[in-house]
Symmetry: C2
Subunit: 196 residues, 2 copies
């Protein structure tokens, strides 16, 4: 059994989180033990505890880090000077990119957040709800300005986010997809579909 | 403990399947026992075996019954004389209706089919793949005839089916949605998005 080896610009904690994320996705959070994580890294379980307190802490790190990336991007877009439709397009592109580049972490934050302990669970749920409300608000503004088709903004949010989370199945199946083709085609369908 | 009471036009087997479907969705197929199903119906477990051989048989019933409904509808549409875009619209509407009216069964056939025993598993997987290939073919014909935007038909199938399966979350959350509004809005977004 060796040491935790971190590459340049990444901490040992990052190494643990990354490996844990992969296991949480494949086996589920509940079924993954700290011992499994240690084994996958190639170290003894006790040496994990120098860097991380618990499995819950890893889950918290993953979920809140992903949430932060999405909300930071959303704030940037909200404050930008573009049409509401362009804002939605930017958000869709960001979601697709995250789904492809940060697949494991996005998957965990989408499916395993239910296992977060309180008070983090409530906080996370509020952030999710809030994020969707902000998306709805952008859509509603676009509808009011006749940039976007007159649809229920909540149905539009559902349609957008579900389409993108469908990329999961494709990622899991290990099929080689051209990420750019996927992004362009999905954006074409969703943005044409929303455009007035 | 009483008897299995079936309403008019439904068999005792239907009663068992319906209750099982609800439990499979809530607890998962693996975690649900024949005893749980019997308890939910209000009978002793042995009396289930007069109507159904095993938990696997119930799963098989649910998955293949749903698959049959989808393939029957698809055949009907494929042989109809409408534009390819209209065919796709019809298929989308059928999926949404099934998602709303047959929610538990569609959910099981979408998520729990992995637990089917062989040879049913292979058969079911082939049916799923085949169904998607037929959808892609309709889309491709529509693209060739310039009815549909020039997108990769597989990305289009992914976008369509994922959007619709997103209705799950909404169903589960128990939010009251106007089914007609949901259908019309989702069709507007997807069909406008696909239309050339």
């Amino acid at each position: 059994m060796g040491k935790i080896i971190a590459k340049k610009n990444s901490s040992k904690k990052d190494v643990i989180t990354k490996k844990a994320s992969l296991l949480f996705r494949k086996k589920g959070f509940r079924a993954t033990s700290m011992r499994d994580i240690a084994e996958a890294i190639g170290v003894e379980a006790p040496s994990l505890y120098n860097h991380i307190r618990s499995k819950n802490e890893i889950l918290k790190e993953i979920c809140f880090n992903i949430a932060l990336q999405f909300t930071d991007h959303l704030k940037l877009i909200e404050h930008s000077k573009q049409s509401n439709l362009a804002k939605i397009e930017n958000i869709i592109r960001f979601h697709i990119t995250m789904m492809i580049e940060e697949f494991e972490n996005v998957y965990i934050s989408d499916h395993e957040w239910k296992h977060l302990p309180e008070p983090f669970l409530t906080d996370f749920k509020n952030q999710r709800r809030n994020y969707r409300l902000h998306l709805s608000a952008i859509l509603q503004k676009g509808i009011d300005k006749k940039e976007i088709n007159d649809v229920d903004p909540h149905v539009a949010v559902l349609t957008i986010l579900s389409s993108i989370s469908g990329i999961e199945g494709w990622q899991r199946s290990g099929k080689k997809i051209d990420a750019k083709l996927l992004e362009e085609n999905m954006v074409t369908i969703l943005i044409n579909g929303l455009k007035k």
